[in-house]
Subunit: 415 residues, 2 copies
Amino acid sequence: MAAAAEILCIGTELLLGNITNGNARWIAEQLASLGIPHQRQLVLGDNRERLIAEFRAAPERCRVLITTGGLGPTPDDLTTEALAAAFDTPLVENQQVWADIQAKLSARGRSCSPSNRRQALIPQGAQVLPNPTGTAPGVIWTPRPDFTVLTFPGVPSEMRAMWLATAAPWLREAGLASGVFASRMLQFWGVSESALAEQMADLLQQSNPTVAPYAGAGEVKLRITARAKTSEGAEQLLQPVEAEIRSRTGVCCFGCDGDSLASVVLEQLRQRGETLAVAESCTGGGLGAALAAVPGASDVFLGGVIAYANSVKQGLLGVPSALLEVHGAVSDPVAQAMAEGVRRATGADWALAITGVAGPGGGSAEKPVGLVHLAVAGPAGCSSEGVRFSPSRGRDWIQTLSAGEALNRLRLQLA
Amino acid sequence: MAAAAEILCIGTELLLGNITNGNARWIAEQLASLGIPHQRQLVLGDNRERLIAEFRAAPERCRVLITTGGLGPTPDDLTTEALAAAFDTPLVENQQVWADIQAKLSARGRSCSPSNRRQALIPQGAQVLPNPTGTAPGVIWTPRPDFTVLTFPGVPSEMRAMWLATAAPWLREAGLASGVFASRMLQFWGVSESALAEQMADLLQQSNPTVAPYAGAGEVKLRITARAKTSEGAEQLLQPVEAEIRSRTGVCCFGCDGDSLASVVLEQLRQRGETLAVAESCTGGGLGAALAAVPGASDVFLGGVIAYANSVKQGLLGVPSALLEVHGAVSDPVAQAMAEGVRRATGADWALAITGVAGPGGGSAEKPVGLVHLAVAGPAGCSSEGVRFSPSRGRDWIQTLSAGEALNRLRLQLA
């Protein structure tokens, strides 16, 4: 029997190692959560003959082929053309797609070129897989009985939006899954993936619900997936496992599914009717950006000061120069003065401050790369602590972990 | 003719989307730098029959097959066993490998289990590919004329060490490279991928050097890749094409390879001995974070103010409340007052300000989601402009494009 699904990622940039194939992983996760097994992921370059050969061979192996890439306007975007050729089907211009492309380009103040018009061609008989955000739509096409291909652009944000809006509902209806699935992604901060896996060793062995760990940038996740005949049945299987995990992990579990540390902290403060400001040195705005990434942050997040230079720490936050001279910028007294300073300057109820050595330069024996001091100031006072992140993962990693750690400290104080 | 190389990554965790396939990207980059073309990357799960089928088919398609994963001691580690079975060859215990495994486990204070002894089995006639850091060695094996397989563990650090120590020298000697490659990635802002591709239509058709376009978040890229007998020869082929592209695109081309808009602007200012501050509303710190992402930013970037709330615009930046009332926060007068205010407050030579509607809420007919006002203040005065980004790509995208657009405006003023 043919397998349910396969993933084919198309792009010479993948073969050249220019980019990591994050799309394959994301789609694999989605398929797993839909309960649709897949056995094979393939990467091919922008080569017409090899694509045609692969498309022709696919129906023997799988019922659904999911492709990414090769839908753009340039001559090396060959997916749609090769697909039509593989199944001896003409390409026809879809008027609605062409009108949509023109409208999108004109909204961006750009003129339409002949190459954009190519993007409106789809194989005769194919259904359009709408792209709400970009110009290139995909198709859902069944060129052979029991074989459907779904095409997506390679741009991850467009692919994901199209998947969630159209492909996932289609796949759910397609009867490829062996049952109905319910899943929940629990999110953790302050515990390593391996420690969490050991704590959950018995649950990781279970087959229904399954529990699988994922590591992110600082946060760790556990996905619980339950299968049953009905979604109520799946949810009933899921709940006791979720409760068990939450009870074993306590405050380490900060949320689930679409939550982020920033969204959780904003919601905690919203419930209290309180506001937040930030003072950032080594993160340079990354903590503020994490808060501003959450839609509707403005009723809680007031803003703050990026105090990258010491002169800004003094001028805008009122950090005394004596503190900087005696303790250095990366110290508890300066972190506390920054937090108190920004709380005073903005009138916020709460303030977070970060000062550290993100590297790769600027470290010393006493204050090595990865040393970060974090302060939380609130109505009842101010506290701070020095944390050492491993320098081995680089500047970005230290900046991301610092912002997350600061948010987590406030979360625990507000809990 | 068979292609030079293929990559086969083995592991059910890849199919489940538990981990990203970073090994494929790393090996692809290594192959490209060795000048060895490859046309195909495949991922399969830990399944004996599918692995055997793939190993049997490989010699028809490629001269070298590189595998990762499936070399560990557990029952689902099947690579070596499937490989021997595919070519009807017995597995034999390699005494030196077994001694090495015992020594390594004993050095870690662990005892040897029968499953560890499985790792000492290799196909008869295969050469060991030593693993300096882990217990699982790989093999270099030529089971058919003109077909060699190299196996690596899935652990990235072990795979990389084995590649660099043994596989890369072997591949260099194997005569698979079709010359030496040189490549350059040129980066653009303010031009769409399709417009750039049309402007370069003739160059995109060339075969040596090749020119290929890539789209990022706002920035667009062109990769030039030249092949020659020597690296000097490749560089000589590359240079005139790079010069031609730069002359056609003018100021749209902001840099190459590892450059970012932020790194280019920081370097422009560094050359002038001048400093920069930011005032951010709707980006909430994202512009500052982009600048702070560049190592060594601190000699130019002083910091600034995240003026998310109007009260912070007034309090820390001195934006007059009358301006906010008459023009609204998203307007040229307020953007300019923010830029001038942060320039004054920090003493920076230059300042960038961003105020806009990132959405999804907060838009109106007059000031829709995606409208952003950007200001640049410098020694000679202040200017600003309203820009409309498409709301269809969402909040993150509007924030990222706003930060890039602000940096690009300063870049053009400094050019």
